[in-house]
């Protein structure tokens, strides 16, 4: 899923405070799982903004709402009127949702309430970790199911580097060395000999390096 974190409240306030009317709009899928951008969070953020407006004597009408997903047209049906009549939107979706709305509502300012941080998993309640950078050419099949692009700080395809120490990465004792994990997995699967196979130079044209990517299904 996509993980995001709410921007500092002051930054959000600075973005929106010049408007007369604002809709604070949640996205109830990925970013709701990490309790940052769901419809409930939209409601809370809206009340915090109202309090701030009162405190600063700023006249701004704030409403809140939300849908299941801000990255697909059909979900917008239920919020049609709310969004068509609003002066500005503070979206709690990831960067995809914010852009989707900006494309949909051509003249409406859409502000991001979140910093979209990564594609990750839920390790435990309230703990999310990055796992994929959507490089477009997945190598997990040869790295024991551990992503070197995302989890090795130098994205080495033939690691580990000389800084790997006690299973931790050279950049921080809080980060597992991805290549230690690769080797542990290869060993557990009885495939440690595979470690000596050289991984060839990567084709980054399928990554962001090749420009914005898209993909179209035939017959739709």
């Amino acid at each position: 899923m996509i993980v995001g974190e709410q921007k500092p409240f002051d930054e959000v306030w600075e973005m929106v405070k010049s408007h007369k009317q604002l809709t604070v709009f949640g996205c109830n899928t990925c970013v709701a799982v990490c309790h940052q951008g769901g419809n409930k969070e939209a409601e809370i953020l809206a009340s915090l903004l109202k309090m701030r407006a009162t405190k600063e004597g700023v006249d701004i009408e704030i409403v809140d709402g939300g849908i299941e997903r801000q990255c697909e047209h059909p979900f917008f049906e239920s919020a049609k009127e709310l969004l068509e009549d609003t002066e500005a939107v503070l979206s709690l979706a990831c960067g995809i949702g914010v852009q989707f709305m900006a494309q949909k509502y051509k003249k409406t300012p859409i502000y991001p309430a979140l910093n979209t941080t990564f594609l990750g998993d839920v390790q435990e309640d309230g703990y999310f970790t990055e796992k994929c950078q959507a490089c477009g050419d997945c190598v997990l099949g040869v790295t024991g199911g551990v992503c070197p692009v995302t989890r090795c700080c130098k994205r080495l395809f033939n690691g580990p580097c000389g800084g790997s120490s006690d299973g931790k990465c050279e950049i921080s004792k809080d980060i597992d060395c991805a290549w230690q994990l690769v080797i542990d997995r290869l060993k557990a699967m009885g495939k440690l000999d595979d470690y000596e196979k050289l991984t060839p130079i990567k084709d980054w044209s399928k990554d962001r390096a090749g420009g914005p990517r898209s993909f179209k299904l035939e017959g739709f």
């Binding site: 700080c153 130098k154 994205r155 080495l156 395809f157 033939n158 580990p160 800084g163 120490s165 990567k202």
Partner: protein, 310 residues
């Protein structure tokens, strides 16, 4: 053994001599005087001088320019190249540039993460890794081609090396990792600073068992300790560095003003012991900002004078 390049290091090694290399870091300035001066201090005592590439991710005068300065002074530089800051276009371009200036040896590295340097907010590149850089240089040299497949009219004439850290984890893949670097094209290896001689010899035993020492020239890294403080710092703060407690105790046992002298003696003793170790082909002395001590170390370890060639 067939000599493939014009590298002096290759000549020394393939003629059966123990090679001695050293290392200098370029200045954080546009004035090259300091690195030229350091080069001259050690030139008669070493076969070649590695020039570091923005080591510890601190921005400095570039390795290539510093190598050219040394070359113009008649010294023998080894171009260090990290994959952190340049993509494959820039790397290949710099390799050609180096060769065009008569620089014939290089060391392929991944590079320290930028978090440690003066630009922690910078982007890193890591388009290819250090193994793939080895492959790239060898491909350019041996096949006469760019990675993209086009022919190189005059291919770069480079003797290619890599680093190895016998002390990083996990230990069990440290020998396989060397084998992998050899398969990728490494012709010589300069290792991380060796303080734990037992562990180094254990690693070498594994290397020799697989016959890898016959495929690559291995030069253990030697860095003299200047003080017990430095030893403690390296033990504590440098990832992948193995400084045994006995070494720290030995330095603590001598008065402060004698510690640097003791550090040199420890380094000389390490060289004397390791030169007997099967598979050791020379030494790489990294006397970080203490270049003036290199001649003494080389002489005391019995590596002076250096071989001469016409």
């Amino acid at each position: 053994m067939e000599i493939k390049t014009k590298s002096r290091l290759e000549k020394v090694l393939k003629n059966g001599h123990m090679a001695v290399s050293s290392e200098c870091g370029p200045p954080r300035s546009s004035d090259p005087a300091h690195i030229i001066e350091k080069g001259h201090l050690i030139k008669n005592h070493v076969d070649c001088i590695n020039i570091t590439d923005n080591q510890t991710s601190v921005t400095r005068l570039c390795s290539l320019a510093a190598c050219i300065h040394l070359k113009q002074e008649g010294l023998e530089p080894v171009l260090q190249m990290v994959v952190r800051d340049r993509n494959r276009i820039a790397l290949q371009s710099d390799i050609l540039g180096a060769a065009s200036h008569g620089i014939h040896s290089m060391l392929c590295l991944s590079g320290d993460h930028q978090r440690f340097g003066d630009s922690p907010e910078g982007q890193n590149v890591f388009d290819i890794d250090s193994m793939q850089l080895l492959q790239t240089v060898r491909y350019m040299r041996d096949e006469g081609k760019f990675l993209g497949g086009d022919a190189i009219k005059v291919p770069p004439n480079m003797f290619v090396g890599a680093a190895a850290n016998p002390f990083a984890d996990p230990f069990e893949i440290r020998v396989p990792r060397l084998a992998k670097k050899i398969a990728a094209g490494a012709e010589f290896i300069q290792t991380q600073c060796v303080y734990n001689l037992d562990k180094f010899e254990l690693w070498m035993k594994g290397v020799v068992e697989r016959g890898l020492h016959e495929k690559v020239f291995i030069m253990p890294g030697i860095t003299p300790m200047r003080s017990v403080g430095m030893a403690k710092y390296m033990a504590r703060a440098v990832p992948g560095m193995d400084v045994p407690k006995e070494l720290i105790d030995r330095l603590s046992g001598v008065p402060k003003d004698k510690q640097s002298e003791e550090g040199i003696t420890i380094a000389v003793e390490a060289m004397e012991r390791l030169k007997e170790c099967t598979g050791v082909a020379g030494f790489h002395i990294m006397a970080i900002e203490w270049e003036e001590k290199v001649p003494e170390m080389v002489e005391r370890a019995g590596f002076y004078p250096r071989p001469e060639f016409d």
